[in-house]
Symmetry: C2
Subunit: 199 residues, 2 copies
């Protein structure tokens, strides 16, 4: 039952780290969440830092791997954009705290990103570059495609990370209305991007 204990700890750690971040998470809290004795965290992962890195690496690579198949498929670049946007809104909707977790941690400790890119076979980087190329192929505007890509990312991520503020101010703090807004956003963001890339 070795991997079962390790998995339980990992899953608990993932949940707590995503919600609280490296600084806010407590080993005892993770142990409680896993239903394990705190010493086991050190037995299996040796330190808080190691545990965190395992979690961050997993989350980071999975976050960007979701569209790998899409990017390597034979559909048109335009259709890839569509699938990409749909996929990511769904993905973030079901893991709403993950973008904020990633952004917070890469700002808190930029070295974690460098280390990760070096260790992870550079796959997330490759995926982001492939994605960039798809956008570039479709971009008929005069604008540097990096502006398009980064704007698209901002449009996808921001409604989630800034949710507490935006929901309060523009949606009367009504969670259901905001959820509905997020669903609408699939079509809206697609239309926006296509508008931005046209000549």
């Amino acid at each position: 039952m070795d991997s079962s204990t390790e998995d339980k700890i990992y899953l608990a750690a993932r949940r707590i780290f995503v919600l609280k971040g490296m600084e806010g998470a407590r080993m005892q809290e993770i142990a409680d969440e896993a239903g394990m004795n705190k010493a086991l965290l050190h037995y299996y992962f040796r330190s808080k830092e190691n545990l965190f890195k395992a979690v961050f690496k997993d989350i980071f690579t999975k976050f960007f791997s979701k569209v790998k198949d899409t990017l390597f498929s034979n559909i048109t670049s335009k259709d890839k954009l569509v699938v990409f946007i749909d996929s990511y809104i769904d993905l973030i909707s079901s893991n709403p705290y993950v973008p904020q977790f990633i952004i917070n941690e890469i700002n808190r400790d930029p070295k974690v990103l460098k280390t990760l890119m070096f260790e992870s076979g550079i796959e997330p980087q490759k995926i982001l570059e492939l994605f960039f190329n798809e956008v570039k192929l479709e971009n008929s505007s005069e604008v540097d495609s990096r502006h398009i890509v980064i704007s698209l990312m901002g449009m996808l991520v921001f409604p989630f990370v800034a949710r507490p503020l935006l929901q309060m101010i523009y949606f009367n703090n009504d969670s259901e209305t905001y959820d509905h807004f997020l669903k609408e956003r699939k079509e809206v963001v697609k239309n926006m991007i296509f508008k931005l890339i046209e000549a």
Copy 2:
């Protein structure tokens, strides 16, 4: 020199909290930054929580007050958008960690936002609503103006908060090139928004 000591502590706290967040900041570190004995932090602000709230409130209200004069001026809505975008890219450029600080803290503790909105005379909310109205006036598209506003915010903020990742992947980790990209962005975001709001 009462206010001078208090100010020194406040300024130090602001710097450390913005960089480290509430969870990551240490009172001893703030005291060291201020060149003061740690007990003074409690003497003047009573607790870490109080000190943090003072800082957060100040930063939050100032962040949104920057365009107050613009919003109340007599220029056209379209020109207001232009000034708004210019102002915010400049503001964020000179305080690059502030958006991330705000986003992180409103996610870490959403109650801080509720309390703040109640205490601060609701000014940031009013400003965001006024801004929304200006966008709505200019929006000839079929799209709900909230989508436009939120997309604009995402476009303004995201390049800063995700800088470590974006710079590494799309800019060969060259800081100067990224800074140049950010400067370009003033014109680019304006053009993008005008494209999005046209019929």
